[in-house]
Amino acid sequence: MATRTSPTPTPTLPAAVPAPLPPPPSDDACIRVRGVSRSFPGRGSDVLVLDGVDLTVPQGSFVTLFGPSGCGKTTLLRILAGLQTQDEGEVRLFGQTPGQAAKDKNIAWIPQSSALLPWAGARRNADLSRRVNRRAGRRDADRRAPGDPVAVLGEMGLAGSVDLLPHQLSGGMRQRVSLARGFVQSAPLMLMDEPFSALDELTREGLRYQLLDTWERHRRTVVFVTHSATEAVLLSDTVVVMSARPGRISTVIDVDLPRPRPAGIDASPEFHRTVARLRAAVDAGRTA
C-alpha cells in the first residue's frame, strides 16, 4: 500500500484512443441489459425515464452510471437490483434475472444513506446477510460463504468500532459499515446508489480511496451511481454517460488509469483529461 503515498507514476496514454474491444463475453460472465425501457406516470402523460437502454458489464469490472439528475441512472440500478421492474427489455446478471439473483443473494445493494439497523452494532450490521434469507445461505454454503464481518470492518479501518451502535459512529464510519455489509455478503455483483452523496467533501474523498482499496482486495463486479465526475473517473474502469428525458446511454468512456490507483492520482494530467472528456460528453448529451 506504499503506492498510496508515492507521487503518481501515471502512464500517459492518448485519451482519444479507445481501448480495444474485448471479445463479447458469454451471458454467464457479464451483466447484460437489452432494450430496457421504463416509464412512470406523470402529470397528464407518462414520463419515459429509461428508453431502450443497452449495456454490457464484464465480470470483475467497476462501472459507473453518470449523468444529470433525472437521467434514470438510479432507476436503471434499481432494475438491476430487482427493486423495480422494467416495462420492456431484458436484464441478465451472470445468466440470472434480477429476481433469481436476489433469491440467491447474488446482489449486494448499497443504498444512498448508510441504512444500518440502529439497534445493532457495527459487526451485526455488517453481518446482516447471514441472518436474512438463510435458505439461500444454506443452498450456496459450499460455493460462496459470507465474509468475516470483523475482518472486512478491519479492512475498512473500523477494527476498534465493531461493537459500537450506529448512533455512536460518525457519518463516514456508518457509510463504511454499509460498504462492509455489502462486501461481507460476498455477492458477485455490488450495486451502489450514490453511497457518498450525503457526506462532507473530506470524508467523501477518504471513503473513495477506502472503497478502491477494499475493491482491489475483493474484485467484485460493481455498478456505481454518482453525480460527481471526479468520483466516477477515480473509481471506474468504465463510465456510462446517460442523458436525460428520456434516459438513454449517450456515451461510454473507458478510463485508462492504472490499477491499483495510487493516492494523488486525481492530481495527474491524465486524470484531469478524463474528467474533462466526461464533462464534455455530458454536455454533448444535454444539447443533443
Binding site: 436476489a102 445493494w109 443504498p111 436474512v132 479501518g157 477494527a159 464510519m173 473530506l202 480511496y209
Partner: protein
Amino acid sequence: MTTGIATASPSTSTDVPRPAPAAPRPRRRRRRWPRTVLPPLVTFALLAVLWEWVATVQASVLPRLPDVATALAEEPDLFLSNLGYTLGSAALGFVIGVSVALVLAVLVVHVPLLHAAIMPVAVLIHATPVLAIAPALIVAFGFGKLPHVLIVALITFFPMLINAIAGLRSVSTELLDVFRSMAAGRMEVFWQLRLPSSLPFLFAAGKTCATLAIIGAIVSEFTGSVEGIGAVIITSTKYLDLPQMWAAIFLSAFVSLLCLGAVGLAERLVVRWR
C-alpha cells in the same frame, strides 16, 4: 487485520467516533441534582400550603392533609385490598386491549384492505365516552370483574393500535431496499426490521395506555361496583368522608405514576439505541 488499520484512508484521523457520553455523567448528574429536584419540591410545598389554607377556611371543599394521612394509616387494609382489585382489572384489561391492538396492527400493516375495514370501528370505539358505556357493560356482564376489564381493554385499545400501525410502518425505505435486495422473507422483515423499528412507538403508546388503564378501571367502578378504589371514592363521597376520598384519589394518582414509571423503565432497558 493490521493491514486494514495501517492502510486506513486519509480521513481516518479526523473520522473518530463521537465521544462516548458515558464517562463524565455521574459527576454532572450529582451537580444537577439540586436543580432538578428542588424546584418541583418547592412547587409541591407551595401547593400544600395553599391546600391547607383552603382546607382551614372552607372545610367542606378540601380535607386537611394530616387528616388524609390519618385516613390512610388507620385503614391500610381497606385501601390495599381495593387498590389490588382495581390494579387487577387494570392490568388484565391492559394486556387484553394492547394484545388485540398489536395483533390487529400487524394484520393491518400486512393486509392493506383490512385497514379500511377496521379503522372506522376502531375510531368509533375511541370516540365513545367510557362513562357512557360503563353502565351498559355492567348491565350486560353483571357486577363481577369482567365489565371493568372490558372497559380498560376498550380504552387502551385505540392508542396502542394507532401507534403500533405507525411504528410498524416507520421502517426506513432504504433498509427495506437492503432487505428486499437479499430476498428477505416476510417473517424476516417483520422480526428483524419492522418490530424493532416500532418499539419506540409501542413504548410511547404503552405509557399512554398505562395511565389510561388506571383511569378506565376507576371510572368503571363508579357505577354499581362495591370493590375497587373507584368504589371507595363513591362510598366516601356519599358519607362526605373527605379525608378517605382524597386518600383514595392520592393513592390512585401515585399508583398511576408507578405504572408510568414501570413502562418508562422497560423502555430504557429495551430501546437503547436512542
